[in-house]
Symmetry: C2
Subunit: 370 residues, 2 copies
Amino acid sequence: VIRQAAASFEDHMAAAQIIPVILSGGSGTRLWPLSRPEKPKQLHALTGTSTMLQMTAARVTDPQLFAPPIVVASGRHVAEIEAQLEEIGSRPALSILEPVGRNTAAAIALAALEAPASALLLVMPSDHVIGLPDRFLAAVRAAMPAAREGHLLTFGIAPERPETGYGYIKRGAALAEGVFAVDRFVEKPDALTAARYLAEGGFDWNGGIFLFEAGTLLAGLEAHAPDILEQVRRSLGAAMREPARVMPDPDSFGAVRSQSIDHALMEVHDRVAVVPVQMGWSDVGSWDALHEIGTKDDAGNFASGDALAIDTRSCLLHTDGPLLVTVGVHDLIVVASGDAVLVMPRGDSQRVKEAVERLAATRASAPGTL
Amino acid sequence: VIRQAAASFEDHMAAAQIIPVILSGGSGTRLWPLSRPEKPKQLHALTGTSTMLQMTAARVTDPQLFAPPIVVASGRHVAEIEAQLEEIGSRPALSILEPVGRNTAAAIALAALEAPASALLLVMPSDHVIGLPDRFLAAVRAAMPAAREGHLLTFGIAPERPETGYGYIKRGAALAEGVFAVDRFVEKPDALTAARYLAEGGFDWNGGIFLFEAGTLLAGLEAHAPDILEQVRRSLGAAMREPARVMPDPDSFGAVRSQSIDHALMEVHDRVAVVPVQMGWSDVGSWDALHEIGTKDDAGNFASGDALAIDTRSCLLHTDGPLLVTVGVHDLIVVASGDAVLVMPRGDSQRVKEAVERLAATRASAPGTL
């Protein structure tokens, strides 16, 4: 059954060498009220006119390098995802519709089982910004030989600040020009440790973008997380299939152990390599992060939608509906989206979770709010 | 023609002594985006569950003292006004539908010409708050004898601060218990002058609430503003009439000179008296004023509508639609109303006019925005 689907990639693989795997499983609330379970961050245009999903797909369209992508997404978003990709002329080779989210080990296993074992898979979250895509592509090219030699490749982001929200990767010995063995992975450090890493050097942020052969990945899971691989395989064996769509069996897939690919494999595999790259990366993990990467006016405001900022400095203003007017304020985040308006100080936007938690606790039955 | 309508009041007048005249002509933008030309301030519930119009009408329902009111309003609001009054069981004896606004001298002349000449008229703006209505009624009772003797009575608000936005009234000799001749009216003073008035004492704010006999008012206008009276009379002569509704002729009424009753009559009449009263009065002339009079929570927030204030202090939060969430902010005004959201610092809310002017200049064709 599995090889059946994989066979359909063979034509593309003749010309292209890499199958992009776009992961669109997240439904983060850190950009509430814009990002909601029914339309998460990656399906919105945050930094311009294209959605983050569209920008992700648009980075990997060079037919000399890439085959059409595999998209692994929540089943509820698949129509929107395919419509957005259609808008930019991208047609996934395969959409894998997860009945529930089971973290990245399971999502990547789905794609690897559907792809030819010899295919190089470039796994990318759909909600990251890469400001310098040429550097990203150069890093991908640099990573290919090591991936062909059986390494699991990750891309290391040069840290810009002692961030405690990401994992870190310590570089080991050089394997090739720009490619290093991974000395070790480090869980999200405390502030002091993060500052020490920055001072010490040789550490990169783990951005969650990977390159490997499908076969390498599957052999790795077989060795280190066989239960996950077996259960994912079972869910595909009982899958519903349409042209260019696979729906894993909900019961089997729901029983998959939920674990990140980092924990399940990257941190324990013996052939992991890192390609450090400065590519203007951001995971846009907060409204503050969006203000930081957004194109600001002379007064330091990043505004999107119908906003009128009078005597307003250093604010993030986002509206997808009402006219948003500010007068005489500074360093605020003001977001009007859907049925909600959020106002909070800039620099403190992780506190959005307090609002989301309070709303979840008190309005469990209010559809659309969360 | 005029006495025709007046005759219908005679039954009520047997029992009641005063006809309330409710002026609902304003369409202020100082409470934008809530207050708009199509639904101005007085038609909204700002401080509780009743609208300001409803609270105004509810103050004058004692049948021992009051007849049903005359309402002078913009023609475009009459359906909403009558519906709101119906809700509280108030049925105007007469609605006078102004085809255009021509300021208070014309509006009051309309009412005075439709009322019996011997009737006492209590003229009230529809958009003022009176926190202590019993004191208001006591002041009205105190004013009645002087009004019956041919005085124009105004009610003086004890000044709480050196406000430069109101006119002031200097008390003269006492005419009776709590009733004083007016020494002089003072135009809106500068800050220094206003402070001097407060220190000196004997000055009250001119709140724009009046009591007089219809005949006294008409004789006064005949003497001091005969052109206004004549033109208003003409507009009523050619009026369209329905049961309990009068629509002055638009051409004639449009030609009335636009002047306030203060300028046209009160400041130049020789028998003007003032009844000072401390009655928790506010004209709710700004979002700051609303925050001041509103019932605040322990953190000093005045919230109305679906608002969630987390770690929020001393804010005004008003929403008539979206859920409004604030986290970690203080001293802000946040208003979500209709198709707009406004954010500004508390204490500075007169700056709303900058927004309104900018929008008027740039979006003349955008219906609903202004």
